[in-house]
C-alpha cells in the first residue's frame, strides 16, 4: 500500500510540476479592440437541473424550451435528428404528441401518380427543416447557414482553460453547451469597444465562440413568447429554457445514463471492497 501511495505521490508531483509550467506558459489576455481569441468573455456557469450525478431534466422547463424553439428558433434552425415521438419524454401524452406533430406539414411520396405530396406530420416524423436545402438557407440568411439544432448543445463548448479543465473531471462539469447557449442569447445589446470594427450585416456579441460578431441578430426579446405557467417572460429565462431543451435534444438519454451510472458505481464500490478483502486474506500468509 505504501508503495502505491509513493507512486501516486510521485506521479501527482510530476503532473503538478507540468501544470505549473503550463500555467506560466499560458497566454495573456488580449487587447480590447482587436481580440485574437474568442469568445471575448467566457460564459457564466448557470444552475442546471440536469447537472451533477443525480441531475434530471425539468419537464416544465423542457416544454417551455420547446415552445421557444417552435415559435422563434425554428424559423431558421432545423432540428432534423429529433422525432416528434420522443417529445413524450417532455411529459406529453401520446395524443398530445400526435396533435403537435399534425401541426407540421412534411413531404411524402411518391404517390400512385408518381407525385410528391405534402401531408400532416405523424409522431414518427422528424421536425421538418425551414429550408429545402442548405443553399436556400444560405441565400435567405446573407450567406450564413443557420446550424442544425439537434446536437448544438454538445457541438458548442468554450475551452475551459487550465487549471479548470482538470477540476472539471471531479466536479463532472458537462454543461459547457447550455452555458454557452445561454451566454450567447443574453449577450446581445452590448456596445462594441471603441475602435473595434464590426463587419457589415453582423452583430457584436462578446460571447460568440468564433469571432467578434455573428450573422444572427438578437433572436428574442423580453415578452416575445408568452408562458402559461407564470415563469418570467425575460430573455434570461427564455435562454435558460431553450438551452435546457437543446441539451435534451442533443442527449435525450442523459437521465437514464446518470441513473444507470449510480447503480454501476455503487455496485463496483461494493465489489471492490469484497475483492480487496479477499485479496488481503489470500496474501495474508505471504510477505510481499
Amino acid at each position: 500500500m505504501n508503495k502505491i501511495l509513493k507512486g501516486v505521490a510521485a506521479a501527482s508531483l510530476a503532473f503538478a510540476c507540468t501544470l505549473g509550467v503550463a500555467a506560466a506558459a499560458e497566454e495573456e489576455g488580449h487587447s480590447a479592440a482587436e481580440p485574437t481569441h474568442f469568445p471575448i468573455h467566457k460564459p457564466a456557469e448557470m444552475d442546471w437541473s440536469f447537472a451533477g450525478p443525480f441531475g434530471t431534466y425539468d419537464k416544465a422547463q423542457l416544454q417551455r424550451g420547446l415552445k421557444i424553439y417552435r415559435e422563434v428558433c425554428s424559423a431558421c434552425h432545423s432540428m432534423e435528428l429529433v422525432a416528434f415521438r420522443t417529445l413524450e419524454d417532455l411529459g406529453y401524452s401520446e395524443a398530445q404528441v400526435k396533435t403537435l406533430a399534425a401541426e407540421y406539414e412534411v413531404e411524402d411520396g411518391p404517390n400512385a401518380d408518381g407525385e410528391m405530396f405534402q401531408r400532416p406530420a405523424i409522431p414518427s416524423d422528424h421536425f421538418p427543416s425551414p429550408y429545402p436545402n442548405s443553399a436556400a438557407a444560405a441565400a435567405a440568411n446573407n450567406g450564413a447557414v443557420p446550424p442544425d439544432f439537434s446536437l448544438i448543445a454538445k457541438a458548442r463548448a468554450v475551452e475551459r482553460g487550465f487549471p479548470t479543465f482538470v477540476f472539471d473531471i471531479f466536479t463532472q462539469y458537462a454543461e459547457g453547451g447550455p452555458d454557452y447557449i445561454h451566454a450567447l442569447l443574453t449577450g446581445y445589446g452590448h456596445e462594441a469597444p471603441e475602435g473595434m470594427e464590426i463587419a457589415a450585416g453582423t452583430h457584436y456579441n462578446p460571447y460568440f465562440i468564433a469571432g467578434k460578431s455573428l450573422a444572427m441578430a438578437q433572436p428574442i426579446t423580453d415578452g416575445q413568447v408568452s408562458y402559461e405557467d407564470g415563469s418570467p417572460e425575460t430573455v434570461d429565462q427564455y435562454s435558460r429554457d431553450v438551452a435546457a431543451f437543446l441539451m435534451w435534444a442533443a442527449e435525450p438519454h442523459m437521465v437514464a445514463r446518470k441513473q444507470t451510472g449510480f447503480s454501476v458505481i455503487a455496485f463496483l464500490i461494493l465489489f471492490a471492497g469484497l475483492v480487496y478483502l479477499t485479496k488481503r486474506k489470500v496474501w495474508s500468509a505471504v510477505p510481499h
Partner: protein, 447 residues
C-alpha cells in the same frame, strides 16, 4: 509454456482423453494457474491484465456498434446518432467504446512507463518489449481510424491532416497518401477502407498480444527489484495470488472508466465532432485525440529546415522517430542495474520524462504560436510561446533516450542490490515493522 515442466495432472477420464489429444487445458493451467510470478509485484504490474480486458471490451462493444453503423459519408454521422438515440442501450455501447479507447490508452501509457521505470525491456526481454511497441503502434492506427468513423468535423479534418503527413515522404509520399485515401482527398473510399481496417486491426492486436504473453511466459515477469527469480521462494502461483490482485486493480480501473462513461462521456472528445463533416469548412483549430497530443506537439516543434530536409518532413520524421526510438530502448540503456529503485539519478530523469510527456500533451492542444526556442531562451518570450516550449520539450524527449539513457548507465553509481527477491521482501518488511515499533528507524533504508 514457461521454462519449468508442467505440473498439470488431469483428474477425470475426459480430462485425460483431451490432454492426450490437444492439451489446451494443460496450456491454460500452466499459463494462468500454476505459472510462477514474483511475490513482490506491485499494482503497477496489474495494467497488463487491465489492458487485456480493455481489448476484449473494445472488441465486444465495437462488434455490436458495427451492426448498426453505416460506412457511407452521407449516412455515417446519422447512423451514429441513430445508435445514440434509437438503438436499445446504444448510447451506452457508444460511450463505452469511445471512452474505452481513451481508457485503453491511459492503461497502455501507465504500462509503458512502468516498463521504463523498472527496466522491463532489458535482456532477456527485448522481444517482449518490441512486441509491446508493435501493439502500441497498432493501437494508434486503430484509434485514429476509429475516430474518423463518426464522420464529424474533427474526424474529417484529423484524417486530412494525418494522411497529409505521408506526402512529406520524398518520391513515394503522394502515392502512399493516395493509397490510404483511395483518392485525392478524404472521401467515401477513405471512410470505407478505414472502417474495414478499424475492424481488422483489433484482431491483429489480439494476435500480437498472444505473442506478447507468450514471450512473457518464456522469460518470466520482472519485478520492482529488477532481480531475476532465483528460487521457488521468490515466486507465488499466478492463481490465486496474481489473479486476485489483478482482479482488484481491474475493478478499481472499471470504477474510473464508469465515472467517465456515465457522468462526463464527452469530456475526452472534441465538441466539433458533433458537427457533421464539411469539406468546405475548416475548424479553427484541428486537434487530434488527446492520446496523440504529445506526438502532435513534436511534429509541430520542427518549424525549421535542416539542410535538405524541410520543416514538414523534419516534423514527420521527429514524430515517427519519437515512437521508433522506443523500439531500440533495450540497447540504449547501458546500465547493469535494471530497476530505477536502485538508480537515484535515473529515477529523477524518469519522473522528469513523465512530466515532460504530459507537458508535451498540453502543448499539442495549444495553437502552434510563438517565436520558438531562441526567443524563449534569449528574448524572454515566456508567455504564449508554445512553439518554443514544444522545441524544448522535444529536445528533452529525445535527449532522455539518446543521451541520458546510454550515458547515465555508465556513470551512475547504483545503490546496493539485495541478493534475491525474497531477501528484498524480508528486508522491507523488517524495516516496515521497525518503523511501526519506533520512530528511530532510518526511513532511507526502506525500499
Amino acid at each position: 509454456m514457461s521454462g519449468g515442466h508442467s505440473t498439470y495432472t488431469p483428474k477425470s477420464g475426459l480430462g485425460k482423453w483431451i490432454d492426450a489429444r490437444m492439451p489446451l487445458p494443460r496450456l491454460v493451467y500452466d499459463s494462468f494457474i500454476a505459472y510462477p510470478v514474483p511475490r513482490n509485484l506491485n499494482y503497477a504490474y496489474t495494467f497488463g491484465g487491465i489492458l487485456a480486458i480493455m481489448l476484449v471490451s473494445q472488441i465486444l462493444t465495437g462488434v455490436v456498434l458495427a451492426m448498426h453503423y453505416t460506412a457511407d459519408t452521407t449516412l455515417a454521422f446519422h447512423s451514429v446518432e441513430k445508435i445514440m438515440r434509437d438503438v436499445n442501450s446504444g448510447w451506452l455501447l457508444r460511450y463505452l467504446h469511445s471512452n474505452g479507447a481513451s481508457m485503453f490508452f491511459i492503461a497502455v501509457y501507465i504500462h509503458i512507463f512502468r516498463g521504463l521505470y523498472y527496466g522491463s525491456y532489458k535482456a532477456p526481454r527485448e522481444l517482449l518489449w518490441i512486441l509491446g511497441c508493435i501493439i502500441y503502434l497498432l493501437m494508434m492506427a486503430t484509434g485514429f481510424m476509429g475516430y474518423v468513423l463518426p464522420w464529424g468535423q474533427m474526424s474529417f479534418w484529423g484524417a486530412t491532416v494525418i494522411t497529409g503527413f505521408f506526402t512529406a515522404i520524398p518520391l513515394v509520399g503522394d502515392w502512399i497518401q493516395q493509397l490510404l485515401l483511395g483518392g485525392f482527398a478524404v472521401d467515401n473510399p477513405t471512410l470505407n477502407r478505414f472502417f474495414a481496417l478499424h475492424y481488422l486491426l483489433p484482431f491483429m492486436i489480439a494476435g500480437v498480444v498472444v505473442l506478447h504473453v507468450w514471450a512473457l511466459h518464456v522469460v518470466g515477469q520482472t519485478n520492482p527489484t529488477g532481480i531475476e527469480v532465483k528460487s521457488k521462494t521468490d515466486t507465488v502461483a499466478f492463481t490465486p495470488y496474481a489473479t486476485i490482485k489483478d482482479g482488484f486493480a481491474m475493478v478499481l480501473f472499471l470504477l474510473f472508466f464508469a465515472w467517465f462513461v456515465f457522468y462526463i462521456p464527452n469530456y475526452l472528445g472534441h465538441p466539433d465532432n458533433y458537427i457533421v463533416a464539411d469539406p468546405l469548412k475548416t475548424p479553427a483549430h484541428i486537434v487530434p485525440e488527446w492520446y496523440y497530443l504529445p506526438f502532435y506537439a513534436i511534429l509541430r516543434a520542427i518549424t525549421f529546415n535542416i539542410g535538405p530536409i524541410d520543416s514538414k518532413l523534419g516534423g514527420v520524421l521527429a514524430m515517427f522517430g519519437s515512437i521508433a526510438v522506443l523500439f531500440i530502448v533495450p540497447w540504449l540503456d547501458t546500465s547493469k542495474v535494471r530497476s530505477a529503485v536502485y538508480r537515484p539519478w535515473y529515477k529523477l530523469f524518469f519522473w522528469l520524462f513523465v512530466a515532460n510527456a504530459i507537458f508535451l500533451g498540453w502543448l499539442g492542444s495549444r495553437p502552434a504560436e510563438g517565436g520558438g526556442l531562441l526567443t524563449l531562451l534569449f528574448a524572454g518570450e515566456f508567455r504564449g510561446n508554445y512553439v518554443g516550449y514544444s522545441q524544448l520539450s522535444t529536445l528533452y524527449y529525445f535527449g532522455f533516450f539518446i543521451v541520458i539513457m546510454p550515458v547515465l548507465g555508465l556513470i551512475e553509481t547504483p545503490r546496493r542490490l539485495p541478493n534475491s527477491i525474497t531477501e528484498a521482501v524480508l528486508e522491507k518488511n523488517k524495516a516496515g515493522a521497525g518503523q511501526l515499533a519506533g520512530a528511530t528507524a532510518a526511513p532511507e533504508t526502506k525500499v
